[in-house]
Structures are given as C-alpha cells and as structure tokens.
C-alpha cells in the first residue's frame, strides 16, 4: 500500500478488523497520546477577568467536581482520537469520530454558564446531525465495495469508493468538529479550564487529518 500515509509499519489484525500504523498515523497517534498524558497530569488554569481601564481583576471559582468531570471527558476524547488514528476500519473510524464529537460537547457542558451551555447545545445539534452523513457514508462504502477495511480498499485492484461517498464521509467529519461548523464552537472556547478546552481543537485537527488520509487512500 503506497498511500499518502506511507508503508504500514505495524499491523494488529483482530479478524477482519486491522489496526495499523503508518508513519502518518503514528505521528498523529503520538500527538494524541502526549496530549492525553498532559491532560492527565496538568493542573487546570483559573480564568482571570481583568477590568478594562483599571487595576481590578477577578479569578473565576471553579468547583473541583466540575474540573474532574471535564478532565474525564478530555481523557475520553483523547482515547477516542487515538482510536480514530489507528483503526483500519471505516465504520470504526465513523464511530470514533462521533465519540470525539460527544466528548467535545461533554468537555464544555459541565461549565455553569448559560452562554457556554447554549453554545455546547447548538454544537451538539450540529454534531448529532453530522452522524447522518458520517454513518451513511460508511454504510454505502460497504454496499458499493463489499468491504470496510481501509487496507483492502487501498489495494490496486480494489473497487474504488465513489466520490459522492467520500464527500459524505468528509461532510460528516466536518460536522463533528470542523470549519465551517466550527463557528458554533467559538463560544465554547470562552469556557474556563485551559488544558481541557484545547483537547476540543486538537481532536478536531487530528480527525480532520486522518479523514483526508482515508479519503485519499480508498
């Protein structure tokens, strides 16, 4: 397989579901792993509001339980991103991607601010509607080619996936955390709690890079 990702370095077959690392996905996997470890060990920041034109500032109080929940969600998001990086199965990729979407909503949903919750809700609606093209794309891949394995689809003699289906997959991943639907997430970034919120952007970036690889390979 000579794709955009390069030769697979390592394969772990579970029946017809094969986990594999190419140099490309290995890089992304390590990035997700390092950031997940950082989320586990780092201490969250306190958001500081500075009063404009004066010396006064105020630090926002955030409860421990809220931070614990958000850390859990960030770790789950990191695990889901890692899964999306290593999987060799298109349907698994769709599942991990929608899991990333749910976790992104969960990271900010614990914040006790109406604006942030409103943004999280709107983003959740987008992510939920994006599961339709995502799963539809994965199912039509199986219907047109008879397999879901990325490795088999990458073989030279394999049936090529129709362009429309690739567009569906990409649209689904975009809805789970990409521009232009990203606008709904901008408000979410105003939520306090530095390392956890960044997991939203990082996971989006990773699944975006991975879906490009998948779409160009199959």
């Amino acid at each position: 397989m000579i794709g955009i990702g390069g030769q697979p370095l390592f394969m772990l077959p579970f029946g017809d579901i094969v986990l594999y690392f190419t140099p490309f996905t290995l890089t992304l996997f390590i990035l997700a792993l390092v950031f997940t470890v950082l989320v586990i060990i780092s201490k969250p920041e306190r958001q500081i509001d500075i009063v404009f034109g004066g010396d006064a500032y105020l630090a926002k109080e955030i409860s421990i339980s809220e931070m614990k929940f958000r850390r859990f969600m960030a770790i789950a998001c990191g695990l889901a991103s890692m899964g999306a990086m290593v999987t060799g199965d298109i349907f698994d990729f769709a599942l991990f991607t929608s899991l990333v979407g749910i976790c992104n909503v969960g990271i900010v949903a614990a914040v006790k601010s109406r604006h942030v919750q409103n943004a999280a809700y709107q983003y959740g609606l987008v992510a939920m509607s994006a599961t339709v093209p995502l799963f539809a794309g994965a199912a039509i891949v199986a219907a047109t080619t008879g397999t879901l394995s990325i490795l088999e689809l990458a073989l030279p003699g394999a049936t090529k996936v129709p362009l429309f289906v690739k567009a569906l997959l990409t649209l689904g991943v975009m809805g789970e955390g990409m521009a232009p639907f990203y606008a709904a997430k901008a408000e979410m970034f105003r939520a306090p709690g530095a390392p956890y919120v960044i997991m939203c952007s990082l996971s989006s970036l990773l699944i975006f890079l991975r879906v490009i690889e998948v779409v160009l390979t199959v």
Binding site: S98, V105, Q117, Y121, S129, V132, F135, A136, A143
Partner: protein, 200 residues
C-alpha cells in the same frame, strides 16, 4: 441501475432531506432536538439497507451513538433552561376506578422475550418490564437492576472470550452470550430515564 438498493437509498435520502428542511425551519431548541432524533432514523435505515448480517452488527453501535448524543443533549437542555421537577398541584381529574393493568401482559412479553433470547428478546422482555413498572406506578430504586445489568454485560464479554480462546466450547459461549445480552438489554431499557436519579 434501479435495483432494490438504489430505490431504497433514494427514498431514505429524500426522507433525510425532508428532515433537514424541517430542521432549517424550526427555531425552538427542544423541537430541533426532537427533529434531529427523527433525522437519525434515515442514517440507521441506510445501514439497514445493506441487508446482511454485517448491517445488523453495524446498526447497534449506530443506534447507541445516537441515543448517547440524545441523552447528553437533553441533559444539557435541562441544565441550560434551568428546568427542575416541580410537583403539579390543583389538577383534579375524577377517576372512577383506578386499577392496575393485568399482570398477564407483561408476563407474556417477558416469557416471549426469553424464548426469543438475544438482543431482540431483551428488547421484548424490557418492554414487558417497562409496562409492568409504569402500570404499577412503582418508585423503587434500581441499584440492584443496574448491578445485574453490569454482571450480564461481563458474562456477555466472557462468552466472546470463550469463542476466541476455547472454540470447542462454542455452545456454552452461545448460551452465555444469549442470556447475557438478554438480561443486559432488558435491564438497560428498564433503566432509561431512571438512572438520572433524583437530582436535588
């Protein structure tokens, strides 16, 4: 060109487009959540159109993801709108005679579910259990049912390990998996709506 799959796909796509159009026109947050739940059904239908046993295996995770997102978003909606359970007062409906539903209906459903076994049987048995609980107006706590669900799930996983490592004992694996998934699905469906607990 126009075989059964294409016709089905076209129909499902049209219904998905109708659902998305409704989503565009709707402004109310709660209604949009409900419409999105409706729109998810075409995506399950597209998977079901595969018509193989693979489709059956793929529908389950798709359904679970949809339900998980629906539960998460409805919880966010409840928090965001500040909704809380409030007792209804001053509602006097004259009821001549309030009687429990006959036990035979849930008993039949649960019995039929056990005969069916597996996932479908679990769903049927759960329907019977939910019917029983609702018709009795029970307010028991469900910690024990939650635990049974967890143990059944573990049994289900253990049966899969039997398939993988000791294929000669496949019959024990089949039975363990069937009973495990039956109890797990039945318990899970009874729990929907009760596991949120009594907040406040």
């Amino acid at each position: 060109m126009w075989n059964e799959y294409s016709v089905g796909l076209a129909l499902v796509m049209i219904s998905a487009v109708i659902g998305f159009l409704a989503l565009l026109r709707e402004q109310d947050d709660l209604h949009r959540l409900l419409i999105i739940d409706l729109v998810e059904i075409p995506s399950l239908a597209i998977i079901a159109l595969l018509g193989t046993d693979l489709a059956e295996a793929l529908i389950l995770p798709g359904l679970v993801v949809g339900i998980a997102e629906l539960l998460a978003l409805s919880q966010i909606y409840v928090t965001k709108e500040g909704l809380r359970k409030r007792p209804v007062r001053g509602l006097h409906i004259e009821v001549v005679e309030r009687a429990h539903a006959p036990v035979i209906i849930p008993a039949l459903l649960v019995g039929y579910g056990i005969v069916l076994s597996g996932f479908t049987g679990g769903a049927v048995a759960a329907l019977g259990a939910i019917f029983f609980v609702i018709s009795r107006g029970s307010t028991d706590s469900y910690e024990l049912v939650e635990m049974a669900s967890g143990i059944a799930w573990a049994a289900w996983i253990a049966s899969f390990f039997v398939f993988m490592f000791f294929p000669q004992y496949w019959y024990a694996g089949v039975m363990g998996a069937a009973v495990g998934i039956l109890v797990k699905v039945a318990a899970k469906m009874t729990l929907v709506g009760s596991m949120w607990g009594e907040a406040e």
